[in-house]
Protein backbone atom coordinates (compact mmCIF):
# COMPACT_ATOMS: atom_id res chain seq x y z
CA UNK A 1 0.00 0.00 0.00
CA UNK A 2 1.33 3.42 -0.93
CA UNK A 3 1.56 6.02 1.77
CA UNK A 4 2.49 9.67 1.32
CA UNK A 5 4.85 11.22 3.86
CA UNK A 6 4.85 15.00 4.01
CA UNK A 7 8.36 16.34 4.57
CA UNK A 8 8.93 19.93 3.38
CA UNK A 9 12.66 20.03 4.08
CA UNK A 10 15.11 22.38 2.39
CA UNK A 11 17.24 20.26 0.06
CA UNK A 12 20.43 21.94 1.26
CA UNK A 13 19.41 21.64 4.90
CA UNK A 14 22.46 19.54 5.80
CA UNK A 15 24.82 22.13 4.32
CA UNK A 16 22.95 24.98 5.99
CA UNK A 17 23.24 23.30 9.39
CA UNK A 18 27.01 22.93 9.04
CA UNK A 19 27.12 26.56 7.87
CA UNK A 20 25.35 27.57 11.10
CA UNK A 21 27.97 25.61 13.08
CA UNK A 22 30.74 27.42 11.19
CA UNK A 23 29.19 30.75 12.15
CA UNK A 24 29.05 29.73 15.80
CA UNK A 25 32.70 28.62 15.69
CA UNK A 26 33.80 31.91 14.09
CA UNK A 27 31.81 33.96 16.61
CA UNK A 28 33.23 31.98 19.51
CA UNK A 29 36.72 33.01 18.46
CA UNK A 30 35.65 36.58 17.53
CA UNK A 31 36.67 36.12 13.90
CA UNK A 32 34.82 38.20 11.32
CA UNK A 33 34.59 36.47 7.96
CA UNK A 34 34.03 37.37 4.32
CA UNK A 35 33.13 35.05 1.44
CA UNK A 36 34.66 36.31 -1.84
CA UNK A 37 32.77 35.12 -4.89
CA UNK A 38 33.46 35.97 -8.53
CA UNK A 39 33.99 34.54 -11.98
CA UNK A 40 37.48 33.19 -12.76
CA UNK A 41 39.85 36.06 -13.46
CA UNK A 42 37.79 38.85 -11.87
CA UNK A 43 40.54 39.52 -9.36
CA UNK A 44 39.58 37.66 -6.19
CA UNK A 45 43.16 36.82 -5.29
CA UNK A 46 44.39 40.29 -6.23
CA UNK A 47 41.80 41.79 -3.89
CA UNK A 48 42.83 39.31 -1.19
CA UNK A 49 46.45 40.48 -1.58
CA UNK A 50 45.49 44.15 -1.55
CA UNK A 51 43.29 43.65 1.50
CA UNK A 52 46.06 41.84 3.38
CA UNK A 53 48.56 44.57 2.50
CA UNK A 54 46.14 47.33 3.47
CA UNK A 55 45.02 45.89 6.79
CA UNK A 56 47.77 43.73 8.20
CA UNK A 57 49.25 46.45 10.41
CA UNK A 58 46.17 46.36 12.65
CA UNK A 59 44.22 43.26 11.73
CA UNK A 60 45.33 39.62 11.97
CA UNK A 61 44.24 38.05 8.76
CA UNK A 62 43.64 34.50 7.56
CA UNK A 63 42.68 33.27 4.12
CA UNK A 64 40.98 30.07 3.02
CA UNK A 65 41.40 29.53 -0.71
CA UNK A 66 39.09 27.29 -2.65
CA UNK A 67 40.18 26.00 -6.02
CA UNK A 68 39.64 22.92 -8.08
CA UNK A 69 43.40 22.32 -8.12
CA UNK A 70 46.77 23.84 -7.15
CA UNK A 71 47.82 25.95 -4.15
CA UNK A 72 48.73 28.98 -6.27
CA UNK A 73 46.22 31.28 -4.56
CA UNK A 74 47.07 30.27 -1.00
CA UNK A 75 50.73 30.74 -1.90
CA UNK A 76 49.97 34.28 -3.04
CA UNK A 77 47.96 35.04 0.12
CA UNK A 78 50.76 33.64 2.30
CA UNK A 79 53.36 35.64 0.40
CA UNK A 80 51.30 38.77 1.06
CA UNK A 81 51.50 38.06 4.78
CA UNK A 82 48.37 36.13 5.77
CA UNK A 83 47.93 32.72 7.32
CA UNK A 84 46.59 30.75 4.38
CA UNK A 85 44.92 27.38 3.89
CA UNK A 86 44.20 25.89 0.50
CA UNK A 87 41.17 23.72 -0.13
CA UNK A 88 41.24 21.70 -3.32
CA UNK A 89 37.69 20.76 -4.23
CA UNK A 90 38.81 18.05 -6.65
CA UNK A 91 36.51 19.20 -9.41
CA UNK A 92 33.62 20.54 -7.40
CA UNK A 93 32.55 23.94 -8.64
CA UNK A 94 31.99 25.62 -5.27
CA UNK A 95 32.99 25.47 -1.62
CA UNK A 96 30.46 23.98 0.75
CA UNK A 97 30.06 24.32 4.49
CA UNK A 98 31.82 21.02 5.27
CA UNK A 99 34.92 22.00 3.31
CA UNK A 100 35.08 25.30 5.15
CA UNK A 101 34.51 23.55 8.46
CA UNK A 102 37.52 21.29 7.86
CA UNK A 103 39.62 24.33 7.01
CA UNK A 104 38.43 26.22 10.10
CA UNK A 105 39.44 23.50 12.49
CA UNK A 106 42.94 23.46 10.99
CA UNK A 107 43.37 27.18 11.71
CA UNK A 108 44.32 28.82 15.00
CA UNK A 109 41.21 30.98 15.06
CA UNK A 110 42.21 32.73 18.28
CA UNK A 111 45.08 34.29 16.39
CA UNK A 112 42.82 35.86 13.76
CA UNK A 113 40.55 38.90 13.54
CA UNK A 114 39.46 38.52 9.94
CA UNK A 115 39.09 35.46 7.73
CA UNK A 116 38.64 35.80 3.98
CA UNK A 117 37.24 32.77 2.20
CA UNK A 118 38.05 32.84 -1.49
CA UNK A 119 35.45 30.70 -3.21
CA UNK A 120 35.92 28.77 -6.45
CA UNK A 121 35.68 31.06 -9.48
CA UNK A 122 32.10 30.61 -10.62
CA UNK A 123 29.02 32.85 -10.77
CA UNK A 124 26.43 30.08 -10.37
CA UNK A 125 27.10 27.34 -7.83
CA UNK A 126 28.73 29.25 -4.91
CA UNK A 127 25.53 31.30 -4.57
CA UNK A 128 23.55 28.20 -3.55
CA UNK A 129 25.84 26.97 -0.78
CA UNK A 130 25.91 28.89 2.49
CA UNK A 131 29.26 28.71 4.27
CA UNK A 132 28.44 30.43 7.54
CA UNK A 133 30.59 33.47 6.79
CA UNK A 134 29.33 36.86 8.00
CA UNK A 135 29.22 38.74 4.71
CA UNK A 136 29.27 37.69 1.07
CA UNK A 137 31.21 39.85 -1.35
CA UNK A 138 30.85 39.65 -5.11
CA UNK A 139 33.78 40.83 -7.20
CA UNK A 140 32.71 41.85 -10.67
CA UNK A 141 35.24 43.16 -13.18
CA UNK A 142 34.94 45.50 -16.11
CA UNK A 143 36.22 43.12 -18.85
CA UNK A 144 33.51 40.56 -17.96
CA UNK A 145 30.94 42.89 -19.50
CA UNK A 146 28.05 44.95 -18.18
CA UNK A 147 25.38 42.28 -18.69
CA UNK A 148 26.44 39.96 -15.87
CA UNK A 149 23.80 41.03 -13.30
CA UNK A 150 21.15 40.16 -15.87
CA UNK A 151 22.72 36.80 -16.72
CA UNK A 152 23.60 35.67 -13.18
CA UNK A 153 20.82 37.16 -11.03
CA UNK A 154 21.16 34.57 -8.26
CA UNK A 155 24.62 35.59 -7.14
CA UNK A 156 23.89 39.33 -7.42
CA UNK A 157 20.78 38.96 -5.27
CA UNK A 158 22.49 37.17 -2.42
CA UNK A 159 25.52 39.37 -1.65
CA UNK A 160 26.14 42.07 0.96
CA UNK A 161 28.65 44.15 -0.98
CA UNK A 162 29.87 44.45 -4.55
CA UNK A 163 33.36 45.27 -5.76
CA UNK A 164 33.74 46.39 -9.38
CA UNK A 165 37.38 45.63 -10.14
CA UNK A 166 39.61 46.73 -13.05
CA UNK A 167 38.02 50.17 -13.46
CA UNK A 168 41.37 51.27 -14.94
CA UNK A 169 40.29 49.32 -18.05
CA UNK A 170 37.06 51.33 -18.56
CA UNK A 171 38.57 53.45 -21.37
CA UNK A 172 39.54 50.33 -23.32
CA UNK A 173 36.54 48.03 -23.15
CA UNK A 174 32.82 48.35 -23.81
CA UNK A 175 31.20 48.57 -20.40
CA UNK A 176 28.16 50.72 -19.75
CA UNK A 177 28.36 51.44 -16.02
CA UNK A 178 24.77 52.79 -15.90
CA UNK A 179 23.36 49.65 -17.51
CA UNK A 180 25.42 47.44 -15.17
CA UNK A 181 24.36 49.38 -12.08
CA UNK A 182 20.71 49.39 -13.09
CA UNK A 183 20.83 45.60 -13.26
CA UNK A 184 22.42 45.44 -9.83
CA UNK A 185 19.95 47.92 -8.32
CA UNK A 186 17.00 45.86 -9.50
CA UNK A 187 18.36 42.66 -7.98
CA UNK A 188 19.81 44.12 -4.81
CA UNK A 189 18.53 47.65 -4.10
CA UNK A 190 20.97 49.91 -2.29
CA UNK A 191 23.83 47.38 -2.45
CA UNK A 192 27.07 48.91 -1.15
CA UNK A 193 29.44 49.06 -4.13
CA UNK A 194 33.16 49.69 -4.45
CA UNK A 195 34.49 50.54 -7.91
CA UNK A 196 38.25 50.05 -7.72
CA UNK A 197 41.37 48.82 -9.42
CA UNK A 198 43.59 46.30 -7.68
CA UNK A 199 46.27 47.12 -10.24
CA UNK A 200 46.45 50.90 -9.77
CA UNK A 201 45.05 51.05 -6.24
CA UNK A 202 42.33 53.53 -7.23
CA UNK A 203 39.26 53.24 -5.01
CA UNK A 204 40.88 50.74 -2.63
CA UNK A 205 40.71 53.10 0.36
CA UNK A 206 36.92 52.99 0.44
CA UNK A 207 36.95 49.20 0.37
CA UNK A 208 39.58 48.92 3.12
CA UNK A 209 37.71 51.43 5.29
CA UNK A 210 34.52 49.41 4.92
CA UNK A 211 36.25 46.13 5.84
CA UNK A 212 37.87 47.82 8.85
CA UNK A 213 34.47 49.07 10.00
CA UNK A 214 32.95 45.62 9.54
CA UNK A 215 35.70 43.96 11.60
CA UNK A 216 35.45 46.63 14.32
CA UNK A 217 31.66 46.37 14.47
CA UNK A 218 31.56 42.57 14.58
Amino acid sequence: MTQRISIVENILNANDQIAAQNRILLNKHSVFSLNFMASPGAGKTSLVERTIQGLQDNIRLGVVDGDIATSLDADRAAAAGAIAVQINTGGQCHLDAVMLHNALISLKLDELDLLIVENVGNLVCPASFQLGTHKSILIASVPEGDDKPYKYPGIYRGVDALVINKIDLLPYVTFNMDYFRKGVEILNPGLVTFPLSCRTGEGLDHWLTWVREQVAGA
Binding site: M1, T2, Q3, R4, I5, S6, I7, V8, E9, N10, I11, L12, N13, A14, N15, Q92, C93, H94, D96, V124, C125, A127, S128, F129, D147, Y150, P153, G154, R157, K182, G183, E185, I186, L187, P189
Partner: protein
Protein backbone atom coordinates in the same frame (compact mmCIF):
# COMPACT_ATOMS: atom_id res chain seq x y z
CA UNK B 1 27.66 21.16 -11.98
CA UNK B 2 26.38 21.21 -8.40
CA UNK B 3 23.55 18.79 -9.10
CA UNK B 4 25.51 15.86 -7.64
CA UNK B 5 25.64 17.17 -4.04
CA UNK B 6 22.03 18.29 -4.42
CA UNK B 7 20.97 14.84 -5.58
CA UNK B 8 22.87 13.28 -2.67
CA UNK B 9 20.95 15.55 -0.30
CA UNK B 10 17.64 14.55 -1.85
CA UNK B 11 18.51 10.87 -1.38
CA UNK B 12 19.63 11.42 2.21
CA UNK B 13 16.41 13.24 3.15
CA UNK B 14 14.19 10.68 1.40
CA UNK B 15 15.93 7.68 2.98
CA UNK B 16 15.89 9.23 6.45
CA UNK B 17 12.14 9.82 6.34
CA UNK B 18 11.45 6.44 4.70
CA UNK B 19 13.38 4.67 7.48
CA UNK B 20 11.47 6.57 10.16
CA UNK B 21 8.24 5.31 8.57
CA UNK B 22 9.62 1.74 8.33
CA UNK B 23 9.01 1.83 4.59
CA UNK B 24 10.23 -0.96 2.33
CA UNK B 25 10.42 1.16 -0.79
CA UNK B 26 10.31 4.80 -1.89
CA UNK B 27 8.28 5.11 -5.09
CA UNK B 28 7.94 8.85 -5.69
CA UNK B 29 9.75 11.97 -4.58
CA UNK B 30 8.05 15.35 -4.84
CA UNK B 31 10.44 18.27 -5.28
CA UNK B 32 9.47 21.92 -5.32
CA UNK B 33 11.96 24.08 -7.19
CA UNK B 34 11.57 27.78 -7.94
CA UNK B 35 12.27 28.99 -11.44
CA UNK B 36 15.13 31.12 -10.11
CA UNK B 37 16.88 28.23 -8.39
CA UNK B 38 19.76 27.13 -10.60
CA UNK B 39 19.20 23.43 -10.97
CA UNK B 40 18.73 21.27 -14.04
CA UNK B 41 16.11 18.55 -13.68
CA UNK B 42 17.72 16.22 -16.20
CA UNK B 43 21.06 16.31 -14.38
CA UNK B 44 19.43 15.47 -11.06
CA UNK B 45 17.61 12.56 -12.71
CA UNK B 46 20.88 11.38 -14.27
CA UNK B 47 22.72 11.37 -10.92
CA UNK B 48 19.69 9.91 -9.19
CA UNK B 49 19.71 6.80 -11.35
CA UNK B 50 23.32 6.18 -10.30
CA UNK B 51 23.33 7.08 -6.60
CA UNK B 52 19.93 5.64 -5.63
CA UNK B 53 20.90 2.25 -7.04
CA UNK B 54 20.78 -0.56 -4.48
CA UNK B 55 18.93 1.63 -1.98
CA UNK B 56 15.23 1.37 -1.12
CA UNK B 57 14.75 4.46 -3.29
CA UNK B 58 16.11 2.79 -6.42
CA UNK B 59 13.78 3.46 -9.34
CA UNK B 60 11.79 6.11 -7.48
CA UNK B 61 10.18 8.67 -9.71
CA UNK B 62 11.37 12.25 -9.26
CA UNK B 63 8.60 14.80 -9.78
CA UNK B 64 9.67 18.42 -10.13
CA UNK B 65 7.12 21.08 -9.38
CA UNK B 66 8.48 24.30 -10.84
CA UNK B 67 7.29 27.52 -9.20
CA UNK B 68 7.31 30.50 -11.57
CA UNK B 69 9.17 33.62 -10.49
CA UNK B 70 6.91 36.35 -9.21
CA UNK B 71 7.93 39.85 -8.23
CA UNK B 72 6.09 42.52 -6.31
CA UNK B 73 6.81 46.20 -6.81
CA UNK B 74 7.42 47.84 -3.42
CA UNK B 75 6.22 51.21 -4.74
CA UNK B 76 2.95 50.50 -6.58
CA UNK B 77 2.39 46.92 -5.28
CA UNK B 78 1.98 45.46 -8.79
CA UNK B 79 2.73 41.74 -8.92
CA UNK B 80 4.32 40.49 -12.14
CA UNK B 81 6.57 37.91 -13.75
CA UNK B 82 10.10 39.19 -14.38
CA UNK B 83 11.21 39.97 -17.87
CA UNK B 84 14.40 38.23 -19.05
CA UNK B 85 16.71 41.25 -18.76
CA UNK B 86 14.67 43.76 -16.82
CA UNK B 87 13.26 43.03 -13.38
CA UNK B 88 11.98 46.57 -12.81
CA UNK B 89 8.25 47.26 -12.49
CA UNK B 90 6.59 47.33 -15.92
CA UNK B 91 4.03 49.81 -14.61
CA UNK B 92 5.87 52.47 -12.61
CA UNK B 93 9.45 51.59 -13.59
CA UNK B 94 10.64 51.29 -9.99
CA UNK B 95 13.54 49.01 -9.12
CA UNK B 96 12.39 48.69 -5.51
CA UNK B 97 11.15 45.16 -5.86
CA UNK B 98 10.77 42.01 -3.84
CA UNK B 99 10.90 38.43 -5.10
CA UNK B 100 7.69 36.80 -3.86
CA UNK B 101 8.24 33.35 -5.32
CA UNK B 102 10.76 31.52 -7.48
CA UNK B 103 13.41 30.74 -4.83
CA UNK B 104 11.78 27.54 -3.54
CA UNK B 105 14.12 24.61 -3.08
CA UNK B 106 12.72 21.85 -0.96
CA UNK B 107 11.62 18.26 -0.81
CA UNK B 108 7.87 18.35 -0.24
CA UNK B 109 6.90 14.70 0.24
CA UNK B 110 7.65 11.10 -0.62
CA UNK B 111 5.43 8.16 -1.48
CA UNK B 112 6.50 4.95 0.23
CA UNK B 113 5.32 1.36 0.38
Amino acid sequence: MHELPITESILEIALRHARQANARRVTTIYLVIGQMATIIDDSVQFYWDIIAKDSIAEGAQLLFKRIPASIQCQVCSLRYSPNQDDFSCPDCGSSKIKVVSGDEFYLEAIDVE
